[in-house]
Structures are given as C-alpha cells and as structure tokens.
Amino acid sequence: MAGSRDTVSESQNVGTGAERDWQTRLEVFSKSDFARSFPYWFVPFSIMGLGVYGGIGYNTLISLTDYEGFNEGPDFSPGNLDLEMYVQTVNDPWVWTTSKNTFVLLIVFTTVTMVLGLFLAVMLDRGIRYKEKIQTIYLLPMALSFVVTAQFWLWMYNVNNGLINLLLGAALIWQFSGYAMVVFLAGLQSIPDDQFEAAQVDGASVLRTYWRVIIPQLKSSSVSAAVVLVIFALKAFTFLFSMFGQYRVPKGTDILATLMVREAFKLQNWAYAAAIATILLLMALAVIAPYLHYQHKQGSL
C-alpha cells in the first residue's frame, strides 16, 4: 500500500505525468478482476434488483396513496401520501381473521410436513431396497402444479364431502412432505455411518439411536426446510384459488395472501392491497433475516 501511494505522489509532481498516471490507473482498473467480472454479476443483479427491490419500494409508495379502481395510475403528489391504508388494515377485523388463519396454517402445515418428512427420510435412510424408486414416487407431487393437484383433491372432496380445512391440510402435506424428506435425506447422508454403528455397538436400539444421536444433528436441515415451508405457507395463494376456482375462498380458509390478491385484482383496491402486501413482506422478513444470520454464523453462506 505504502509503495503505491509513493508512486502516486511522485507522478503527481511530474506535471504532465499526472494525466498519464490517470490513464494507466484507468487501464489497470479496466483490467482488474472487479471491472472484468462486473458484467457477469451486475447484469443479473440489476435485473433482479429492479424487480425485487424496485418492486418493494414502489409497492411501499403505492401503499401510501389512495390508488384504487381502473384509473391512470397512482397519484404520488406529496399531499396524497399518508399512512391511511395501514390504519385501515389495523382496523379491519377481516385482516385480523386472515392473519390468524395464516398463523394456524403456517404452524400446523410446517410442523406436520416436517415430522412426516423426517419420518419418511429416516425410513428410507436405513438401506432399504429400491430406495431411489420409492423416493421418486414420494417426491412426485412436488413436480406438479398446484393448479393440477388441486383438481385431484377437489375430486376427492367431491366424493367424501368432509371438512374442507382437513382436506386442504391433507393436500398441502401430500404435496410438500416429499420435499421435507429430500432435505432431511441430504442431511442424513452427511452424517458418517460410524456414529450409527458406534451407538449400535453400545447396545442402543435403532429408534433410540435416531432419537438421541442422529436427529439432533439435523438441526441445519430442519431450519432450512422450516424456512422454505413457512415462506410457502405465507404466500400460499395458488392452491386455495384453484381449489375454489375464484378469488373469494371460504371464511375459514382465507389467509393474508389470498386477501391481498383479491383486494388488488378483483376489487381494484390497489393501495389497500399494497399495504397488506407490506405486512406479508414484513412477516417473511421476520423469518428470513434470522435465518440468513443463522446460516452466516454456521459458516454455510
């Protein structure tokens, strides 16, 4: 560092050399790894950034207006910007109901899916035959669109006419437990076999070995799976829309995600929908931020 500073001050003393120095520095810079790799990451980064962060910023701005109906677009004049929409969301009992439903869905769905996924993973981990084939079948629902699977489950519902909430729960668990299984299987495979064998030599039963030795080591997989499932539960819209074929879903199954899309695209309450979207975003960030921090501390970023 000191050496380079010397050359800089030296060349500045030489008068016309200053310009040449500026040019060489530009040339060096243009050949540096930063400049050369810039297009590689910056093009995708700016496209993504415009969509994600530009979108979020613009959404926040719209949520401060009173934009509604089929008009020319939001009015951003300073006098028009206020927190009125947020006051409305807090005072709207329906927002509270859907928030409560969102939490119930989130907790029940994530817990059951993870327990079932772990169970399936442990089962398949014990060196059974046709493991790959079985795994393929268990994961198959994940490859299908919610619009497609909703048709199957709607048909089952028509036959049984049971509780709609129970059916929705079963359908979502059916679709996602294969995913949790794959994440746990990857975690199980990273645990060396000799730990299992050592516990077996000590006389521990298979169940006990898993419970005491293996499962505690799956913390990182559990966190990853949980985050993905929670985020999914927060934004679950497609499945509910497809089940009922319309924006308005039955009272007990209405969540913030469906409310937001309905307010925007059915009722054209753009600003109000944007405010609900902000609430959803904050909920998601409340999960993502600790997760990224945890991953960073683990050194897995």
Partner: protein, 310 residues
C-alpha cells in the same frame, strides 16, 4: 430363513422368531405411503378415462371398464388446452434458458472471481432475500409497470400487424420477462453451491496462464457447469411451467389468447350444470404432461435441485 433350516414338521411359532418384524413393518409403512402419494394421481388417471355416467356410478379408485371407458374427455381437454399449452411452451423455454444463463454468470462473478469479499457478500445477501420474498409484495407494482409504465402492447404496436400475432401476446412477453427477473436469485444460488465445490486449481491454473475472466468463464467454468445446468434447467422449467400467480395477475383472464396452460386449466370444466370431473382430470394430466415427462427421466436432478435450494 431358507427352507433347509426350517424343520419340516415345525409349528408356526417356530418359524415366527426368524422373521424380521422390523423389515415387515417397514415394508408395510413404505407401501402405505406409496399408496398415499399415488392415490390422488391414480384417481385422476382413471377418472379422466371414464364417461360422465361412469364417474358418478363407480368409485374413484376403480378403473374404467367396458362402456364406462372413453377418450372423449381427453380429446376435449386437449382441444381446450392446446393454445394454452403452446403459450406456456413459448413462455417457459426462453425464460428458462435466460434465467439459467444469468444465474450462472451471477454465481461466477460472486464465487470464482475475488473482487472484494465484503462487497460480494452484500450482493449475495441481496440475492438471497430475493429468493424468499413473497411475490405478493411486488404484484401491484408489477401490474402497474406492465400496464402504465411499459405498456408492451403499445410499445410493440407494429408487431401486432403480423398475421400470427395477437395484441394479447404482449402480455405473454411481459410474463416471460417477469419470470426471468424473479427466477435469477434461485438459479444463482444453485450455481453458487456448485461452483463452491469446484476445486480452485483449474481456475487458478488458467489465471496463471494469463487467461482473462471471460476466457476462464467460457473455457473452464461453462464446460464444468454442464451437470449443474441440467439440474437448474429442469428445476426452473418445472417452476415456471407450474407457476400460476403471475399468469393470473398479468394475463388476467383464462379466455385470453395469451393465457398459459395453468390459467386455462383453472377455469376448465366449470359451468352452470356443475363440474365435469372427467374433463378436469384429463385437463390436469394434459397440463402436467411436460413436467411429468421431465420428472420421469430426471427425477434425480429434480431432487438435487430441491435439496440444494437451501
């Protein structure tokens, strides 16, 4: 367990301890879940080949027999969905290719090149948050953007003069671009995980030989990326093909000439006389065909993409 060790006149109780209860229990549980995961799809397949009469007369699990069998529902479903199917292909293939390419270059610029660890980390975090944000948070701006700020339909006015293009196809183009934008972060993450496992030696050796960043990408990194390109392509193709929320909000109506296959499917087989389940099942299976085919051949890669997501 072999017959030779079993006494010919042995009672049933003599044999029992030799059986492995664990194995039997395990097989039963595995078979149960096998049925659990396949049953909805199985009912979908059998129902799609039944006449409307057979759909109401037989149980969902029984295959269509005799008079109850028909391919009429499939014919009608394909007839209804073919435009949407083509639209989905037109949208999914270019956006998948673009996302995979951009994801790979972004991961390259963030892992195999060192231009400041702290700055690279900050950019990485911004990408990662982009994976997890709920799309609801950008839906209102998106629809405003494609309608009021960049109305592609008007920007590309001369194009709609062409005979095979329709005005509504502008929406398909905006949907394609939207999928590229929001697909980049996850593709970046998948490639990044892979590039981190590559040994530094090849890249370092190329650097010592005086290869530029571009040469290293084209001659070293891209050829090494082949297996991961497959994984990301399969994963991204499936994700975009199956996507519905963007289609619904950007295209709007299932009767639009630009409607994607998932959008058309969501409105299929519903009229005042009730729901035609046979037609719906056939439509659902037809719409899922590309992803099912890909899954049948590349289930391994699909699972790999899912597991690497975190």
């Amino acid at each position: 367990m072999s017959k030779a060790t079993r006494p010919a006149d042995g009672s049933f109780a003599d044999v029992l301890p030799e059986l492995d209860y664990w194995k039997i229990g395990l097989s039963l549980v595995i078979t149960f879940f096998f049925a659990f995961f396949l049953a909805p799809i199985w009912t979908g397949i059998v129902t799609s080949f039944k006449t409307s009469g057979a759909v109401t007369a037989t149980t969902p699990l029984t295959p269509p027999l005799g008079d109850g069998f028909t391919v009429e529902k499939w014919a009608r479903a394909i007839d209804h969905l073919s435009t949407g199917f083509v639209n989905s292909l037109i949208m999914t293939i270019p956006s998948t290719i673009a996302t995979v390419f951009l994801g790979s270059t972004a991961a390259y610029g963030l892992t195999l090149v060192d231009w400041g660890k702290r700055a690279q980390f900050a950019v990485l975090i911004l990408f990662l948050v982009g994976i997890f944000i709920p799309y609801q948070a950008v839906l209102v701006p998106l629809s405003d953007f494609w309608i009021n700020i960049v109305p592609l339909a008007e920007v590309l006015a001369p194009v709609w003069e062409l005979s095979f293009m329709e005005y509504a196809h502008a929406r398909l183009l905006s949907l394609t671009i939207t999928h590229i934008v929001y697909g980049i972060p996850l593709c970046m993450l998948l490639f990044r995980g892979y590039y981190l496992t590559l040994s530094d030696e090849l890249v370092e050796a190329a650097k010592i030989d005086g290869a530029s960043i571009t040469t290293i990408y084209r001659r070293v990194v891209l050829p090494l990326s082949k297996p991961m390109v497959g994984v990301v392509f399969i994963y991204q193709f499936t994700a975009i093909w199956n996507e519905f929320l963007f289609s619904l909000t950007l295209i709007g109506s299932s009767s639009s000439p630009a409607a994607t296959v998932t959008l058309v499917l969501s409105g299929l087989g519903t009229d005042l006389s009730g729901i035609d389940f046979g037609l719906r099942m056939a439509g659902a299976l037809f719409a899922a065909l590309p992803t099912l085919i890909i899954y049948a051949f590349f289930a391994e890669e699909f699972a790999q993409g899912l597991a690497a997501e975190n």
